[in-house]
Symmetry: C2
Subunit: 360 residues, 2 copies
């Protein structure tokens, strides 16, 4: 029958057309993926808050609108230190935070931000990307249904603002200092009294002598806090030589992304991380320039060798305890120590020698 034949022919045409069309679009999966990110920071936090904005913009542009990421700041989700749990549970798909915030929950997360007397930012990036660091980090996060990636470096943290000069280890004994986390534990080992105080009360606490010293971040964040007006000694770094933030991803969300969006997302993390580091360097340089010209009485000091050695020893003992208690902790700490050992030999004759030869 003509009618049947025609239908058959038309059907064949339809199939052929659709096949051709499909073939030219064989790789395109044009579904739009909408992900939600929770960040630890408040809205419009400079540097830290720019990282996820830059990341989301890049992911959107590179995916031609197929990957859309909504960012909720702490004012929205009300749980700045709940990011780990919210991404783990799937309440959020992504997070931007700092790994050492989770050490109370998962002790081994401590090692992926920055360690006292540890690697500098670039030494640590080399460890992450070429020295096995990234794999170790995934090993720590994987049992919690999470992937974790370097999320941008806020540069070296200064040692903090002190009202009195530190000349001997005795000057640290009984010293009341706002310094949270593991660095506080190190200071406690040498007799200081570490404490944590809410950001809004820091200035008054230092002014009134409730505390004798505090660490915050570095010039880019410290300038607006005004500590330089009430504590003349600005100590150089020892406890966070290169603080890395992190992007967290819910593992199930990750697995459901098509391959090209996986690589677009991971690449957006990497670029945003690197951008955050150069931005932090840039802002620290600008803020230090402003701060040191507006407040020429700031006295920059480094702890004397005696104090450094005592802090190093205390740090080493604490880490030794952690390694003794947990096999994976030992593996991570050994990996960091041997990488740092080898890398620092090179840093010493390259970057450090270059910087020193011009100031000698």
């Amino acid at each position: 029958m003509d009618f049947k034949k025609t239908i058959r022919r038309v059907s064949t045409l339809i199939v052929a057309s659709l096949t051709t069309l499909a073939a030219t679009h064989v790789q395109a999966d044009d579904k739009v993926y909408r992900l939600k990110l929770a960040e630890t920071w408040g809205p419009n936090t400079p540097i830290l808050g720019d990282a996820s904005k830059n990341m989301a913009k890049l992911a959107k542009e590179m995916s031609n609108g197929r990957l859309i990421i909504r960012i909720d700041s702490a004012n929205k989700h009300k749980a700045p230190l709940g990011v780990f749990d919210m991404v783990k549970s799937g309440q959020y798909d992504l997070g931007h935070s700092s790994s050492y915030y989770w050490k109370g929950k998962v002790p081994n997360t401590l090692y992926f931000s920055s360690m006292p007397f540890g690697m500098t930012t670039m030494e640590q990036y080399s460890w992450f990307y070429h020295g096995g660091g990234l794999e170790l980090m995934q090993q720590v996060y994987s049992p919690h249904n999470l992937l974790s990636f370097p999320g941008g470096n806020s540069d070296i943290q200064m040692g903090g603002w002190f009202k009195k000069e530190i000349n001997t280890i005795d000057d640290l004994k009984g010293l009341k200092m706002r310094i949270p986390g593991f660095a506080g534990e190190v200071l406690a080992q040498v007799g200081a009294k570490p404490t944590n105080i809410a950001p809004g009360e820091l200035y008054t606490s230092l002014e009134r002598g409730t505390i004798d010293a505090l660490e915050w971040v570095g010039p880019a964040f410290d300038l607006r806090m005004g500590f330089q007006k009430i504590a003349p000694y600005y100590y150089t770094a020892w406890h966070e030589p290169g603080s890395e933030t992190q992007f967290l991803v819910n593992k199930k969300v990750w697995q459901e992304l098509p391959d090209d969006l996986k690589i677009i997302l991971e690449t957006s993390f990497r670029v945003a991380a690197f951008d955050m580091y150069t931005q932090a360097l840039h802002e620290n340089a600008n803020s230090w320039s402003k701060m040191s010209s507006e407040y020429p009485d700031i006295k920059v000091r480094s702890f004397p060798p005696e104090v450094i050695n005592a802090l190093k020893q205390a740090n080493g003992e604490l880490l030794k305890q952690q390694a003794a208690n947990d096999e994976l902790a030992k593996e991570i700490l050994d990996s960091q120590a041997s990488y740092l050992n080898k890398m620092r030999e090179w840093t010493t004759i390259s970057l450090q020698a270059y910087l020193n030869e011009q100031t000698n």
Copy 2:
């Protein structure tokens, strides 16, 4: 007529199907763009040659196969120092090389690799991305139908291998050293005899005393050259504190790319650049560890302050001449000097202080 009606209905269905299909693919431009890249390096050159391979792989994966980049090494195109011209003319779409290779052609390209006593790698990345450096580089390349992007850093270059120790500026007078380019001009200003020698003849020239010293790159490239066997003094950096390579793009090719592929390509450049830097750090650390344990007699030296100051002065005078001759050169050099000035103040109290406090 039933027949006609059916055909009409089927046609409507076809159109509807195709329209629906087209709508779900509205943003996809599935044309495959095939670009050719010429690199200055020979095939399988480590670190330098990995940059464009990593870049091409990333661009392909993120574009889901829509951006395919073929890489021709120097053995293929036979013109290692012709990359600028070949990309300018459109013979190649892309290039990977070093900006200072073009200074004979376009003098202002000199300033975008690494300058004697200039910015370290990270200081320079901050300048590129936040201090106006990238815009100045585009200004230099734009009249030549080219875009130029940072293409990866090979880390600090060592000052080179010397048969005799350099204690005073007199020790440099008459010294025959293989050191090409602008750094050679600086050395000539203080009385040395810079020369260029093909890589294959370097070892014999140094062994036989045709030259007294040479600079090559750093441990990762120097180790296999074997210079440590015949020249015991390994001097620290002064002339290339962070050598940046570059990706070149033919402007017309760039303009014809759809927006998402533009951003994918630019992002692939950025990630490959950053990867090359961490890889260079990693390889230098490994090679230095190997070299210093296998050849424990290597004597690492820094030029004494007298020599550094003489070289700095010579460098400053040469740059002053260049700034006097060309307005854009002046603008670039002023931008670098003021950025370095501000940034180094911060580097000194952050990174340098941190490194020094642990070796004091």
